[in-house]
C-alpha cells in the first residue's frame, strides 16, 4: 500500500471522523498526528476538556483495554502514551485556564531499594492518559518522600510500586507510618508490581492491588467516583 496515495489530511475530516482517526493514531503511537489533531479541534472551538475526555482519554481507553487483554505490550503502550503526552502538553495550560474539572491527583513512586520503574512509568503515563494529574517521585523512595509529597501536592491517591520480593514489604512500612500519623484514610493507596497479588495488597493494608496499568486506571477512576459521590451526599 502506498502511503502517499492514501495519506490522510486531518483537517479535511469532520469532527467525528477526526476523533476516530485520533483513536487510531493514539493506538499507533503517532505523536505529531495527535498534536496536529488537537490543534485542529481547538481551532474548531472545542473546549480543551472535551478534547481531553472525548478524543485523548477515549483513545487511551482502547489502548488500555488491549494492553489488559494481552493484544498490545509495553513497547506499543509506551509509544501511545508518548503520543498522548504530546496532545496533553498543548492542552494542559488551557485546561488550567478554563477551570476544567479535575480527575484527581496521584503521587507515585517505586519503593526504597527498588530501582525498577518500567511498570511505574507505565502507570504514570496511563493515569495521565486518563486525565489524572500525576506527580512521579521516581525510584527508591523512603517513607518520608511519599508522605511529604502526598501532603504538599494535596494528592488523592498514593501509588507504590515494587518489582522485587525483597522490596515489596517496604510498602507496609509506608502504610503503617500513615496509620500512625492518622492520615491513612485521607488517601487512596494503590499498590502494584510483578511479585504482588491481591492477597498481599490486603495483608499490608492497601486499598487495592492493581495487576497492571490499565487496572490501575480503572481502579483510580472508581475510587474518585466514590469520593465525589460521598462529597455530594455529605
Amino acid at each position: 500500500m502506498s502511503d502517499e496515495e492514501d495519506d490522510i489530511i486531518l483537517s479535511e475530516l469532520n469532527d467525528e471522523e477526526l476523533v476516530q482517526q485520533m483513536f487510531d493514531d493514539l493506538y499507533d503511537g503517532l505523536k505529531e498526528e495527535i498534536e496536529e489533531a488537537v490543534n485542529i479541534l481547538l481551532e474548531r472551538k472545542w473546549e480543551p476538556y472535551r478534547i481531553l475526555t472525548e478524543a485523548l482519554v477515549g483513545g487511551m481507553t482502547i489502548v488500555g483495554a488491549d494492553f489488559r487483554d494481552g493484544i498490545l505490550f509495553v513497547p506499543e503502550v509506551l509509544l501511545a502514551a508518548n503520543a498522548m503526552k504530546g496532545g496533553m502538553f498543548i492542552l494542559k495550560p488551557l485546561l488550567a485556564e478554563t477551570g476544567a474539572p479535575r480527575m484527581g491527583k496521584m503521587v507515585i513512586g517505586t519503593v526504597k531499594g527498588d530501582i525498577h520503574d518500567i511498570g511505574k512509568n507505565l502507570v504514570s503515563m496511563m493515569m495521565e492518559g486518563a486525565g489524572f494529574e500525576v506527580v512521579d517521585l521516581g525510584i527508591n523512595n523512603a517513607v518520608d518522600a511519599y508522605i511529604d509529597a502526598i501532603k504538599a501536592e494535596e494528592a488523592d491517591i498514593l501509588g507504590m510500586s515494587a518489582l522485587l520480593t525483597t522490596t515489596m514489604p517496604y510498602m507496609k512500612v509506608v502504610i503503617d507510618t500513615m496509620v500512625e500519623m492518622g492520615i491513612r484514610d485521607d488517601y487512596v493507596v494503590l499498590v502494584g508490581g510483578a511479585p504482588l497479588n491481591e492477597e498481599f495488597g490486603k495483608a499490608i493494608g492497601a486499598d487495592s492491588y492493581c495487576r497492571d496499568a490499565a487496572v490501575a486506571v480503572e481502579t483510580a477512576k472508581e475510587y474518585m467516583a466514590r469520593k465525589h459521590n460521598q462529597l455530594a451526599a455529605g
Binding site: I8, I62, G70, F73, P75, L79, G113, I115, I139, M168
Partner: protein, 337 residues
C-alpha cells in the same frame, strides 16, 4: 568448546541448576532496599553459604550474586563505578566454593537486566547497553566464572546487546528471558520468537530458556513452545517455586518441595536440559528436584492438560504461539483514505 558447561552437557542428560538468590539472602538478613551485590565484599561468608546451599543440595551449577551488578542499577546505590569489581568478587567466591566441592560444579556468572528501556520507546542506546554488559561479563570471567548467564530479560534488544557484549569479551554464555505477560515477555516476545532471536545471533549461546515469570505451569508451556520450533540448542527451565505470599513481614512462596520435584520431571520431559528454580526455590526444593530427576525415568512430553492437572492453570489462555508466533491481532490501524 572448552568450558565446563559445554563439557557437562555432552555427558549428561540433564543438569540441576540452582534456586533463588534474593529469597535466600533475604532469609539471611538482607534488608529490604539494600543491594545484595555489596555483600560480595562485606558479608562474604553469607554469599559462600548461599552458593554452598545449592551445591550441597545437589545443584550441578549455580549463578553468582551479581544480578544487579551493572552500572545502570548500581548507580542507584551510588556505586555505578563498581560493576566490574563487585562482579569479579561474586565470581571469585563462586570459584572458591565450586573448587572445594567433591564433584565438578559450574560457576555461571549472573548478568541481570539494566532496568532501562531500549528500542524506539526507550532511552538506553544499544552501545551503552553493550558497554555495561561487557563490564559485568569481564568482571565475572576475570573472577573465574565458567560461563556468563544473562537472565530475566524482557526485550529482544537487550538480549541482543548482552550477546554482543559477551562476544566482545570472548565469554561462553547462556541466556534466559522472563515470560510473565500472557505467556510472553513484558515486551511481547513469544517463546517461538525467542528461538528465532537466539538462532539469529552470530555467537550462539550454550543454552537458552526461561526463568522467573508467573508460575510453573506457564514456564512449562514456554518450554514446549521452544521445543516446537525444533531448536537444537539446549533448553533451560528455571521457574519460581509457586506464587509469593506475605506472612509477618516476609515473603514466602507457596510451592512445596514435592511440587518442585514434579515440576523438574515435567520440565525434563518437555525437553529442558538444564533445570533449576528461581524466586522462592530453597535448598530443600533443590534436593527434592534432584531426587525426582534421579529416580524418575524420562517420559513423554506433558500435554497442556497434564501440566494444568499437576501444576495448576495457566495465567492466560494463549501464549501467542498458536498463531505461529505472529504479532497479536491489533484491532485498530491507521485508516488510509
Amino acid at each position: 568448546m572448552t568450558n565446563a558447561l559445554s563439557r557437562a552437557l555432552e555427558t549428561r542428560d540433564w543438569l540441576l541448576a540452582d534456586g533463588a538468590t534474593g529469597t535466600n539472602l533475604f532469609n539471611m538478613g538482607l534488608q529490604s532496599g539494600d543491594a545484595p551485590e555489596f555483600w560480595n565484599e562485606t558479608e562474604q561468608d553469607k554469599i559462600r553459604a548461599l552458593y554452598r546451599g545449592a551445591v550441597d543440595a545437589g545443584s550441578d551449577l549455580f549463578l553468582t550474586n551479581s544480578f544487579g551488578a551493572n552500572a545502570s542499577r548500581l548507580k542507584l546505590h551510588d556505586a555505578g563505578h563498581r560493576a566490574y569489581e563487585l562482579s569479579k568478587l561474586a565470581a571469585e567466591l563462586g570459584r572458591e566454593v565450586a573448587d572445594a566441592a567433591n564433584r565438578e560444579i559450574i560457576v555461571a556468572g549472573s548478568v541481570g537486566p539494566t532496568g532501562e528501556i531500549m528500542g524506539e520507546a526507550g532511552s538506553l542506546s544499544h552501545e551503552s547497553a553493550v558497554e555495561m554488559f561487557e563490564e559485568t561479563a569481564k568482571g565475572l570471567m576475570d573472577g573465574g566464572a565458567d560461563v556468563v548467564w544473562v537472565e530475566t530479560i524482557s526485550a529482544p534488544e537487550e538480549f541482543r546487546a548482552a550477546a554482543e557484549a559477551f562476544a566482545n569479551v570472548g565469554a561462553p554464555w547462556c541466556g534466559t528471558m522472563s515470560f510473565d505477560t500472557a505467556g510472553r515477555t513484558m515486551m511481547g516476545l513469544t517463546s517461538a520468537q525467542m528461538v528465532q532471536l537466539v538462532d539469529s545471533l552470530p555467537n550462539t549461546p550454550i543454552a537458552f530458556g526461561a526463568n522467573c515469570g508467573v508460575g510453573a505451569s506457564d514456564l512449562l508451556r514456554t518450554i514446549k513452545g521452544f521445543v516446537a520450533q525444533g531448536t537444537q540448542t539446549p533448553i533451560i527451565a528455571k521457574g519460581n517455586a509457586g506464587i509469593p505470599k506475605y506472612h509477618d513481614g516476609h515473603i514466602h512462596y507457596d510451592g512445596t518441595p514435592e511440587l518442585m520435584g514434579e515440576y523438574a520431571v515435567l520440565a525434563r520431559n518437555a525437553g529442558a536440559k538444564i533445570i533449576g528454580g528461581c524466586c522462592g526455590t530453597m535448598p530443600n526444593h533443590l534436593r527434592a528436584m534432584r531426587e525426582a530427576l534421579e529416580n524418575t525415568p524420562k517420559g513423554d512430553s506433558p500435554t497442556l492438560e497434564l501440566i494444568t492437572e499437576k501444576m495448576g492453570g495457566f495465567s492466560s489462555e494463549s501464549d501467542g504461539t498458536d498463531a505461529g508466533g505472529a504479532a497479536p491481532s491489533r484491532k485498530n490501524k491507521r485508516r488510509r483514505g
